[in-house]
Amino acid sequence: MSAPVFIVGTGRCGSTLLSNAIRVHPRLASLSEMLTTATDLGGRIAACFDAGPVTADALATLLLVPPPKQTLMHRNGVSMDEVLYRPGGSARFSAETGVPAILQTTLPHLAGGPGADPAEATLAADAVFDEVARFVRTRPPAPMAAHLAALFAWLARRFDRSRWVERSGGSLRIVQRLADAFPDARFVHLVRDGRDVARSMSRHAGFKLMFIAAALTEILGVDPFESADRRYAGDIPDELAGFLPEAFDAAAFHAYRAPLALCGLYWSGEILAGTRALAALPPDRVLTLRYEALAARPSDELHRLAGFIDPEPVDGAWLARAAAMVRPPAPRPATDPATQRELDQACASGLAVIETLS
């Protein structure tokens, strides 16, 4: 199997489109959101990059057991659009049981195929799950990177593809870990104007929960989704108390908007740290794509993408099919001048950096 390829970005930068495009490629296996879901929206980053040796049981806990944050989301009907699994009905897992990380998006995306509706994709994923579980549970102890590389290669073979491309929303924040764990990896970095990213993050269930979890974690001194320690619960401001897992208020969560300035600061922080890590790699291992260019000239940009990932000549039929998936971005909503000014300031340092990217 050839060098690993990861598509990284800040999240809300349009990278799901790239996974969908790769899914219809004849030679590429599109592994969508594997790292987002395995890290449970970022709470389990250290475990997902454990240098090991990691046992099959520990690996299974990350991939095959419903993770706490995503389970909370299913139970409260606040799942992300990217989650393709539809629990309940004839599906193997219900909202109450929660859904294993690998079933949230990765397997339905792979097994369902481009035309499948979510219910069909769910059943197709369920049908593969036992095979995946067998593979995972028979792994000998190894570093997590070795486990993931083996699993990704197995999935590519299972779906008759010659190479895999992993893409997870928000994976720019772990790009240094990816570069360390997969020393020959190649990276596609999709960038988008931070002000648009921030607007999208502000309303996105996954990012909202990520921001809330970050605040609660710093206040409590533990990850509230992994630990029942509440010795500092008195420090939680009233406006966050309803987002503790044991007191989760789904209506309040729906209504909550992450502050735009906070989203902008986060975006800038990810761009600053992520581009620093990517800049340390040989230039031929990094491809930067811009969402705005992709939206304006989809064939050109997808051609660059395919050429970077796959040494074979770009498949014209694929290119046409993938380019047709690209839709023009929605117009920017109006923002009051003061908020816009704060958002501009929050994004300034990140925007300055992406200006310099070739």
Binding site: I45, A214, E218, G221, V222, G234, D235, P237, A261, G269
Partner: protein, 409 residues
Amino acid sequence: MDLAALLAGRGPTNPASQEERQGLYPPVMEVPRATHLVTGATGFIGGALVAELLQRTRDAIVVVVRGENDAAAEARFHAAFAVACRAYQLGEGVLDEARRRCRVVAGDITAPGLGVERHPNVVGPIDQFWHSAASLRYEDRYRVEIRNTNVAGTVHALELASQLGARCFNYVSTAYVAGTRTGEILETAAGEARTNNEYERSKCDAEALLAAAPDGMRVRLIRPSVVIGHSRTRAATSFSGFYGALRQFAQFGGLLERMQPGLVQTSLRLGAAADVTINLIPVDRVAAELVDLAERDAPAGVYHLTHRRPPTVGAVVRRMFAELGFAEPVFSGEDREGFTYLERKLDQQLRFFRSYMGTEKLFDRTRVDGVLGADAAPDVDLDDAEITAHVRWYLGVLRSERANLPVAR
């Protein structure tokens, strides 16, 4: 020694000799002349008070502690007291004394008579009733708990004190019942003070309720300021007030670091006044003065257990920011015009502490000093080095507790 004997007799506290206080030889076993009842003994002030009583007197101490039963309460008290003794480096002798002289009973501050009115180990007379149990919470969602603990709890404590014929009822209140008043704050009834938060309101209301104490019961309203760790070890056992503010700064910094590495180096305006004072008082000084007041048979009334030369908010906050690796803040006082998102966020996070960092309160100590006279010990200088030592001690605690926080990247 049986409890009836322990509880026999009454009068002022029974001082131990200077040698005994220094631990040079064990206290002489004799029938105590005084009996104390302490609520809140697993708390910060209550624990230090019990330690002080054990070291300075030969008196018996009844300790009312939460617990499913007496055995559970006893275990809880001794565990908490051991933590306090370690924190203050008091040695095994004090722990042994606690096991010998403290009678621990399970009670409930929210129950009439603390739920111990008919307990065989809680019988009068009591010389000094020390009511230090309190809720230090402040968010609105804790309003019922705050009222139940601080207001109803004081009613229940007074019921028990009355039933036991307590001679003195010492209510550990707070200097900040002064509420929104500024300038010189006298040792007088809080009256109709406007308060800044539910915590202050509850302490004001509790003080007012004590006017209903029976004739003949001497009620002392004892008001420490912001209590910090031991003056020698800097260690504390409870982390509100000074520690709560420091922790909130640390939490804020941690969140910024998760959002954008290095963001804490952004210089922020803080809605606080650098040159007003914040009255901090080490816990051992509070405990010492509590016992001093009892030993000197202080009359009823209000007593401020406060620092005579408190540091400024600027000095304290600058030391906190420096130790946290933050850029030095700009103190904007009450002016929040044009605050950035981060400044608003910080201001919002510190809303409970805002009133303590924005206006000047100078606490008069005439009554305390009048009772203590020339024996009053000098205050520990709370200069930059001393504040830094207290800040570092607590940041060490926080960092060890947070060593396993999930990474952000």
